[in-house]
């Protein structure tokens, strides 16, 4: 450990360059990882709540609506149906427009449509149920989450692609910078390495201090990046909680195990730390092996 610290102290500029690049790489990687898991959690959340809302024409009778409800239940593809009457719709409307009494005054329950909120057992049933509803008498509009899911799928897929490209670029840049920095140090110690080899040192013995040094830098950068990440999340936590107040818990499946990604929690923080640590270890090992290979 003392040798590592001495070596880092003797080359402060190279150490600073390597540490900065590693720190930013790991910080951005951590941010991308958090964003990606959050989006995946959101997608899973929407996917596990397959819902259709059907609005009836204003003149539609309750019997007509209940007939549609019974027909839907008979399909066996429904998890839950909630009937929202004109009066209930007016209550909801009043709640939404409570700051604007004029709007409430201009509206009455008679002009609002009754609706059915339908939760399907599987997302695949949604298009079929939507078709069925469109052909029913008294139905005005059928809304379901196909568009939302498709949009989320598109976003997640694009973020994955961008993340992969960005990860690759960051990793490549970090490896190049770290390899160059280590190569400088090794070049300065070329004479020392030749003496070690003459004394019978194995390649691994010669590599060990350089590997130790870069892994130590990686450890330092991982710690700093995670401290900053956690700090930012703590600072933004109140705002995010308020912003996503209606969201509840977001979870995703990781290697078959459930992982809660929102609200942020200790398990998720440990996972982010582990991912950045593995990423850092990968970069530092590749760099130190590449740099030392040139001189052994």
């Amino acid at each position: 450990m003392n040798e590592i610290l001495t070596s880092l102290r003797r080359t402060p500029y190279q150490t600073f360059a390597a540490l900065s690049v590693l720190f930013f790489t790991l910080l951005l990687s951590g941010l991308l990882f958090i964003s990606l898991t959050f989006l995946q959690g959101l997608l899973d959340y929407v996917e596990t709540r397959p819902r259709i809302i059907v609005y009836f024409q204003v003149k539609a009778e309750e019997e007509q609506i209940f007939a549609v409800r019974d027909q839907l239940e008979a399909t066996g593809k429904i998890a839950d149906i909630t009937y929202v009457s004109k009066d209930k719709a007016f209550e909801i409307y009043k709640e939404f427009t409570q700051n604007d009494p004029l709007l409430v005054e201009m509206t009455s329950p008679e002009i609002l449509p009754a609706s059915l909120e339908i939760d399907a057992k599987q997302p695949e049933y949604l298009p079929e149920l939507a078709d069925l509803l469109s052909n029913q008498p008294g139905v005005d509009e059928v809304q379901f989450q196909k568009d939302i899911i498709n949009n989320l799928l598109n976003i997640t897929s694009n973020v994955r692609k961008v993340t992969f490209l960005f990860f690759s670029y960051l990793m490549f840049m970090s490896i190049i910078v770290l390899t160059t920095t280590l190569s400088f140090k090794i070049a300065l110690k070329r004479e020392e390495i030749s003496i070690l080899k003459l004394l019978g040192a194995t390649n691994m013995y010669i590599r060990k201090p350089f590997i130790g040094e870069s892994v130590f830098l990686g450890f330092l950068a991982t710690s700093l990046a995670n401290i900053v990440l956690i700090g930012v999340l703590i600072l933004l936590n109140a705002f995010l909680k308020d912003y996503f107040a209606d969201l509840g818990n977001l979870s995703m499946s990781l290697f078959g195990l459930p992982l809660q990604v929102w609200p942020f929690n200790l398990t998720f923080a440990i996972l982010t730390l582990s991912v950045t640590a593995i990423f850092s270890l990968f970069i530092t090992l590749i760099s130190s092996f590449t740099a030392t290979n040139r001189y052994l």
Partner: protein
């Protein structure tokens, strides 16, 4: 036991560094390698360290055979050999103790055994009082003593010395030779030198080389060219 059998070294441009050289070295034997510059003395030492590759013949070092084929046990071979160079080759950032201990750490000795052997070697070479000094604080003679101590520790049975007195004044040269005289009781020593006084005063086996050829191999010989 070291055995050279018809060993030749030819460089790609056709220069001959060593031409069909054969000789055997018994355990705990002291041999001077003498000859003018370019005669092949250093080439023999570098071959023993597998620092260069031979083109023909074979070299047997204990149970290891070096042939023109790629030799893979380089580190293992070098761990059996101690080396002393004219320019000392001491690590400038490590103190005397660390420089000598390095030779043992490379071989995986534990710290207790390392400390014991390093202290003994520094006593033998007469530099125990400078154990924690750095190379920049030492004279040439002292640096060479450090190099000898480093070559001795870690159960290295063979010592290769390449002009070890080349950078030393006459008084220090004789002090260093006294150490080698002590070492020959337990080590096999191959000592390459130009110094006629040393060879003539300390009568040992002398192998004389000229233009890469072994021209004379004399028991208890002197320096003659």
């Amino acid at each position: 036991m070291i055995s050279f059998q018809n060993v030749s070294v030819r460089y790609p441009l056709g220069n001959i560094a060593l031409d069909s050289v054969s000789f055997d070295v018994e355990d705990q034997e002291f041999i001077y390698l003498v000859g003018p510059s370019g005669a092949g003395k250093t080439t023999i030492l570098r071959l023993l360290l597998n620092d260069i590759q031979l083109t023909e013949g074979s070299i047997l070092i204990e149970d290891m055979e070096i042939t023109p084929k790629k030799f893979k046990q380089v580190a293992e071979l070098r761990q059996r050999i101690g080396v002393v160079f004219q320019d000392f080759k001491i690590l400038p950032d490590d103190n005397v103790y660390e420089n000598v201990a390095l030779s043992m750490r490379i071989k995986g000795f534990n710290e207790g055994e390392t400390k014991k052997q390093v202290e003994e070697a520094l006593e033998l070479t007469g530099i125990a009082d400078k154990m924690y000094q750095f190379p920049s604080q030492l004279s040439a003679g002292e640096l060479q003593r450090v190099a000898i101590a480093r070559a001795v520790v870690g159960d290295r049975k063979i010592i290769l010395a390449d002009e070890p007195t080349g950078n030393l004044d006459p008084k220090t040269t004789w002090e260093v030779m006294k150490i080698f005289k002590e070492l020959e009781k337990t080590k096999t020593i191959l000592f390459a030198t130009h110094n006629t006084d040393i060879v003539n005063s300390m009568k040992r086996r002398v192998i004389i080389l000229k233009n890469g050829k072994l021209v004379k191999d004399k028991k208890k010989g002197g320096y003659e060219l």
